[in-house]
Symmetry: C2
Subunit: 577 residues, 2 copies
Amino acid sequence: MNLKRYLPVLQWAPQYDRSQATSDLVAALIVTVMLIPQSLAYALLAGLPPQIGLYASILPLVIYAIFGTSRTLSVGPVAVASLMTAAALAPLAEAGTTEYVAGAVVLAVMSGIMLTVMGVLRLGFLANFLSHPVISGFITASGIVIAASQLKHIFGIQASGQNLLTIGQSLIQSMGEANIPTLFIGTGALLFLTFARKQLKPLLIHSGVGARSADIITKTAPILAVLVTTLVAWQLRLDTQGVRLVGVVPSGLPELTMPSLDWELWQQLAVSALLISVVGFVESVSVGQTLAAKRRQRIDPDQELIGLGAANLGSGFSGGMPVTGGFSRSVVNFDAGAETPAAGAYTAVGIALATLCLTPAIAYLPQATLAATIIVAVATLIDLPALGRTWRYSRTDFGAMLATIVLTLVHSVEAGIVAGVALSIGLFLYRTSRPHSAVVGRVPGTEHFRNVLRHDVELCPKVIFLRVDESLYFANARFLEETVMDLAIDGPELKHLVLVCPAVNLVDASALESLEAINVRLKDAGVRLHLSEVKGPVMDRLKSTEFLSHLGGELFLSTYEAWQTLTDRKAPLEEPV
Amino acid sequence: MNLKRYLPVLQWAPQYDRSQATSDLVAALIVTVMLIPQSLAYALLAGLPPQIGLYASILPLVIYAIFGTSRTLSVGPVAVASLMTAAALAPLAEAGTTEYVAGAVVLAVMSGIMLTVMGVLRLGFLANFLSHPVISGFITASGIVIAASQLKHIFGIQASGQNLLTIGQSLIQSMGEANIPTLFIGTGALLFLTFARKQLKPLLIHSGVGARSADIITKTAPILAVLVTTLVAWQLRLDTQGVRLVGVVPSGLPELTMPSLDWELWQQLAVSALLISVVGFVESVSVGQTLAAKRRQRIDPDQELIGLGAANLGSGFSGGMPVTGGFSRSVVNFDAGAETPAAGAYTAVGIALATLCLTPAIAYLPQATLAATIIVAVATLIDLPALGRTWRYSRTDFGAMLATIVLTLVHSVEAGIVAGVALSIGLFLYRTSRPHSAVVGRVPGTEHFRNVLRHDVELCPKVIFLRVDESLYFANARFLEETVMDLAIDGPELKHLVLVCPAVNLVDASALESLEAINVRLKDAGVRLHLSEVKGPVMDRLKSTEFLSHLGGELFLSTYEAWQTLTDRKAPLEEPV
């Protein structure tokens, strides 16, 4: 049982049959064709040599097939993680240098360790605190920054920067050096890919191609762009005209790479590795769950952490870069019919073959083509209308989203995500520090008690019934103290205060201290504290303490019983209240 | 109204009468006598010259009387904040040097700014996250560290260290150099003060002194110890025998001090200032609330932030050190009959007079006497049985408490408090990420629905009723997604899933996205999502979105209505279920 939890491959491999294998092979072929240009492009985006992208698309896929729980998630380099990799490494070294490449390996290994540890400790819940508006704002802003950062390749100029301001400034300064042949290739590829994405599919469907096949054909457009522009560049010897090409890529499979053990480097990259890990995890799980649901399958988020962690370790030790589950590739994999994670392993074989045989051909691939594929891919990530939707729905959520977007655009990806998370948690802590509670009164002639602010209920000035609608713990314990004492001070005739606790599932040690303090302070003020409708498990724990023996008042099973006892005792119901 | 909120002095000063003035003056006299040795001792503990303690006991008290909301809180130097000051400044400079003293001023000013800003922004709720077990463990551990750090003065040796390990090691190394006359004075003072605290009060009461007077007389024991040992040291010229005395203290009132504007220094001290502020605030509010309740008075925590912030600003600009409300002094002030914050202002006058006239006499005061008063005072802070109580009540609370104590003892006060808070918040986030929810079934023959795990209820395999007992927001949205999808996967016959939402007070943007995702995924799995008992305000917000138009199922006012509609539709109740 436990082995199957940690090795999900054991759940499907024993029943693996020929029909599944055929489906997986077809899907793997299509994903391979899609992944070759993507892996090259995302390495370029991360500031790494192109073969690193290929390396990161071999071993990690095989490892994820063993440890991952999603049947159809396609793991490998993705746009946002590549941008975050570039942002993390930029302060450390010049892009493309040996130290820079070594930094990417450390990022992948550290990210792998963090994800695996989080998985083993079952800390997947931490990802919850990346709230939806924050992650959505972050991805939109990242998409904009990525697109902006690729414009230099389209224009064939040198430019740098990690945010919209610095990139923009750098682009404007170098615009005079734009290379016309590069610009032709770049805009040509951009137009073709945009056409493929927007119009090719309807056209194909119109010509009688099935919707699913049309979709898959459309997704292979990037490889076509790569082939055509490479041929053109080779035929016209465009490198002699200033067009930047990918250049000679070392052929052969990745070798075992030992990450640098420079402790200072690890410390410098730790926060970045954590952010890359968590953002990648959240995105992977979201894609994985959406796809799994379509077939009533299940993914286990804590095991996903282990799967992605192991994949990143594999990526690092084979000289790669941080990897995670990609949205568009996974959807293609699913639509192309992948049935088991074996499809991912077959894709790895495809990429390995490409690394062995196709690298000489890649030398003439223009960087502008890769930049165009990146821009068209990330355009789908940008969701500006979400800002309006969130504004209309919730101002606090909008605030967190806007802070994330603005900081990502004008400062850095890391500042953006950290600000968003901090703001979300801050707002959350603020909200939870004020528990829902209400003074209740008796609905005349019944045994029911309702909020005095919303219903016409019977009251007694000597007794207040305060219903607490949440568990009591340190976050709201002080608020309870204040609420109760305010009631006591505002009601000079008050003799009894009944805490009505049907919704209290937990009283932690801080709240217990607060109850003790409330009890003592009320006693000092001449008011007795009573409890009613305390749940069984809560009562069991209270009984293990001295609180109940200190309690000035009584315990009532029902609020009505408290009403009868306390109001009858000194003020019969018939008296004017 | 608003002016009265920010200047609580306006609430009591206009009605201030002669009888209140008499009470306040008596209380101020007693507190002054108690505060003189305390302010000297806490300056010693913080590694500062003795007059700094006096300076911090003048202007801050006057300012707090204007801005504070507690009638009886006694503000000034306290043990824990002094220890934290020493810990913050130790890495920066040698104790007692000009830079060290300047650092204390920056700490006070920064702490003042932080508290005031938190007060104006009404961020008092942030103090909630210092849970009771953490603060209690922190104070116990700080008390132990403080007592250990003062042993060097009792033995008359040089020793250093910021935690129990380094202090202990340092003490053992220097033990050979112990000074016998110092040891006599130190142990003598310790024995006398312990006797005064433990046995004097019962003795006095036994001799017919009233309980309150006996208590107040007992509290003046430190000043007696100071007087006697100073006289002895002066008569016997003990300084010639190696007894360390307080030495010449500059006479005169504090002067206006401008804090250093060294940005790097501010950055280095920022975390320490924040911790000192928050710990001090939590302690002050707790003492203030306890005392206020005894007279059915009210304190306003957000205004307390402003009061303490202004007091710290006053302390900094008059060359002092961080101040906050002291527990024992406030209790004495209250018991001695203080009725308004004017008592604090009178105390300030008393300390100012002492600073002007008594400083020459202080020169012969042995440091061992001050160390003895500190040790006896902090002994009351140490509450080790609380560990056992917390262990019995809650293992998670115990974990946070133990981590705080251990890290404070073996590493540093700052590591201790940060670890405690991080662990508390982590455990809290974990808890909130799993909302209370239950699959419910119909109590046969009624319109009521109860948890299937606890009650014998009617079920229908085509319909699941999931009751959610908490608001839905980003922290638990993902858990809801998983819970719902698990139910859908585990029930192959399932056609309808009803979310029963009577306890949902809020659906934030993340939870809305999750509901959208759940709706789509359930549709993909052939299950329709319905909602029942949605509260009015929640429904109003949902209506502003497109969620309701996407919803696969229906909205039901009551769960019974959903039961009738969904179970009748395809499976009459008479059928076997």
